[in-house]
């Protein structure tokens, strides 16, 4: 090893910082098993798995928000995959006046605070008389999902030598054959990674959703349902059970995206 060992104090501080960040997540898991249902007390007076059964059998109010979140994330990701890839192709394969400025505009939704995006969309929907629905939520989510897909697609397209597209045409392939046999196989893992990240981000989005979802029960996504549950305590550990589900639904796609783009120059998660 060329590097010296860092001083003990620095290592202790680093470990302390990591623990401070990640221990609360373990507490979320722990409280899903507590026997105390009104307040989170530490240490838990006893451990039980009853809340998993309760969540599954006795709480029909969990299912509509869960389905809504899955639906929104799926549609927003699909839109992002199509539009994000097309924009990335346009940005890397052609040169036109104002390209750099437009590229900045595409990246903007990820840099803007969610409140700003949310307010802007809400007032735009108001002016255009668009009633709040699943589709307004989807639109809100798509704004940042597109950026995620775009970032991954652009990084991959830049790394691909433009020559292979020309080589394909030179060997007699038409545009569709080049897309199918050369571009898609080389873009696949980047698009999968981008899509999974976009899905994960959409699935647990709160701020933009609050602004674009209206107020009815039919507009309650899973994270918003959880927020409500914490304010109105009743079978509190059930919320933690749902939290574990959300954790799994977002963590594993992000982990997979990390491994898919590892070793490349991809900016998988950048921002958010």
């Amino acid at each position: 090893m060329l590097s010296e060992r860092s001083p003990l104090s620095l290592r202790a501080a680093a470990i302390g910082g990591l623990l401070f960040l990640h221990l609360p997540i373990l507490l979320i898991f722990l409280y899903a098993f507590t026997t105390e249902e009104r307040s989170f007390q530490f240490p838990p007076p006893g451990l039980t798995t009853q809340w998993f059964t309760t969540a599954w059998y006795d709480r029909p109010d969990i299912w509509p928000p869960l389905w809504l979140s899955l639906k929104v994330a799926t549609i927003a990701t699909s839109i992002a995959l199509i539009l994000g890839t097309l924009v990335a192709a346009a940005m890397t394969r052609t040169a036109f006046f104002g390209r750099d400025q437009i590229s900045l505009l595409i990246l903007l939704p990820i840099a803007l605070p969610g409140v700003i995006t949310g307010m802007a969309l809400r007032s735009a929907f108001g002016i255009m008389d668009i009633p709040f629905s699943v589709w307004t939520i989807v639109l809100g989510h798509a704004t940042f999902c597109i950026v995620i897909v775009y970032n991954n697609a652009v990084a991959r397209l830049r790394r691909l030598s433009g020559g292979i597209m020309e080589a394909s045409a030179d060997l007699g392939a038409n545009a569709f054959q080049t897309f199918r046999h050369v571009l898609l196989p080389n873009m696949g893992s980047a698009l999968l990674a981008g899509g999974m990240l976009a899905f994960a981000l959409s699935f647990d989005e709160v701020i933009v959703t609050i602004f674009t979802a209206g107020s009815g029960a039919e507009a309650k996504t899973l994270p918003i349902w959880m927020l409500d549950e914490l304010i109105r305590p009743r079978q509190r550990p059930v919320t933690n059970v749902v939290a574990i589900v959300v954790f799994a639904a977002t963590f594993f796609p992000i982990l997979a995206a990390y491994y898919l783009t590892r070793g490349g120059s991809e900016t998988a998660g950048m921002g958010k």
């Binding site: 030598s161 020559g163 292979i164 020309e166 080589a167 394909s168 045409a169 030179d170 060997l171 007699g172 392939a173 038409n174 054959q177 046999h181 050369v182 196989p185 080389n186």
Partner: protein, 328 residues
């Protein structure tokens, strides 16, 4: 003799940049044709005009008599060996070579058999299952060659195909390319900025300068009788004499070229100057004189006396070896 490729007053302008400007060119079938020139001289654009990746903004291009000015690349019966090889990184070598046959709809076993045949031709029989990333530069170059040749193109275009190889490999590949071209009887169009490569490999070559052809001819024509100062300078090794020096040496007041082999040292002459450099070449010694501010090299054959550096000498030559040329 049939012509493989014809350019008729072909231009390719990018806005105000005239990458190719009014080029007339005929490439004979079965010949090894080189396009030589410095970077930015238009030689690569000319190659891309033949492959179809560039469209002419003026003039007409014919391949075996057929006007292809508006034919897209995938419908032309020409194939390219790209400078960076552009192999498909996600396919193994066999699938790379078979790609052109696959997109034409040939069945798997048949196209793989043909690909293996081609790989044998470039001496890569055992490499079909490897990925391009597992090959050396020279091997990738052969794969690119096999991938182009398997389509049986009527013209093979090579864009600086040896540029990325080290010197020894490059020389070996030069011989091999030449032998392959001879064996297949195909028309090869070869782009290079290396004058030795062009002179030693081509049957005929075009020297490009600023989008135009400065001279077109056999290697010997171009070496012995450069048409312009630019050609003499670029192809190299010839002495380039400015008009006043040409006149002082007994010629007309024009730019001229004089090969060092045709130049001998003389005790006295109309112009003399100091010896500024000596280089022993084995078969002789190259002596450089400073004549009125122009460096002029003479080749002194082995066994003849060589002046010391700093000594004053004059030159002599047979007047028929003085080659007059344009100033451009």
């Amino acid at each position: 003799m049939t012509t493989a490729v014809t350019f008729q007053n072909v231009s390719r302008h990018f806005g105000t940049v005239k990458a190719v400007d009014g080029v007339d060119l005929t490439i004979a079938e079965g010949s090894f044709f080189a396009m030589l020139g410095p970077s930015g001289s238009g030689k690569t654009t000319c190659l891309r005009l033949i492959s179809g990746f560039e469209k002419p903004t003026g003039g007409a291009i014919r391949i075996f008599g057929e006007d292809v000015s508006n034919t897209p690349p995938h419908l032309r019966n020409v194939n390219t060996v790209f400078q960076d090889y552009a192999l498909f990184p996600h396919m193994n070598v066999r699938d790379n070579v078979a790609y052109g046959l696959m997109v034409k709809g040939m069945g798997r076993s048949q196209r793989h058999a043909k690909a293996e045949e081609m790989l044998a031709l470039v001496k890569l029989d055992a490499y079909g299952g490897r990925k391009p990333a597992q090959l050396s530069g020279g091997q990738r170059q052969r794969v690119a060659l096999a991938r182009a040749l398997v389509n049986e193109p009527r013209v093979l275009l090579l864009d600086e195909p040896l540029g990325a190889l080290d010197l020894k490999l490059r020389e070996a590949m030069q011989d091999e390319l030449k032998a392959l071209q001879h064996k297949l009887g195909l028309t090869f169009v070869f782009v290079t900025h290396d004058q030795h490569e062009a002179l030693s490999m081509a049957d005929s070559l075009a020297v490009f300068n600023e989008g135009k052809i400065a001279q077109i001819g056999s290697p010997q024509d171009i070496y012995d009788r450069p048409a312009t100062r630019f050609v003499a300078d670029f192809v190299g090794s010839s002495n380039v004499l400015p008009p006043d020096l040409t006149r002082a040496l007994g010629g007309p007041p024009e730019w001229a070229s004089l090969r060092p082999e045709a130049t001998r040292l003389a005790a006295s002459g109309p112009v003399s100057g100091p010896v500024t450099a000596l280089r022993y070449l084995g078969s002789g010694t190259r002596v450089v004189l400073d004549l009125k501010g122009t460096e002029v090299a003479a080749l002194v054959p082995a066994g003849q006396p060589v002046p010391a550096e700093g000594a004053t000498s004059a030159i002599g030559f047979d007047p028929k070896d003085l080659h007059l040329m344009g100033a451009a």
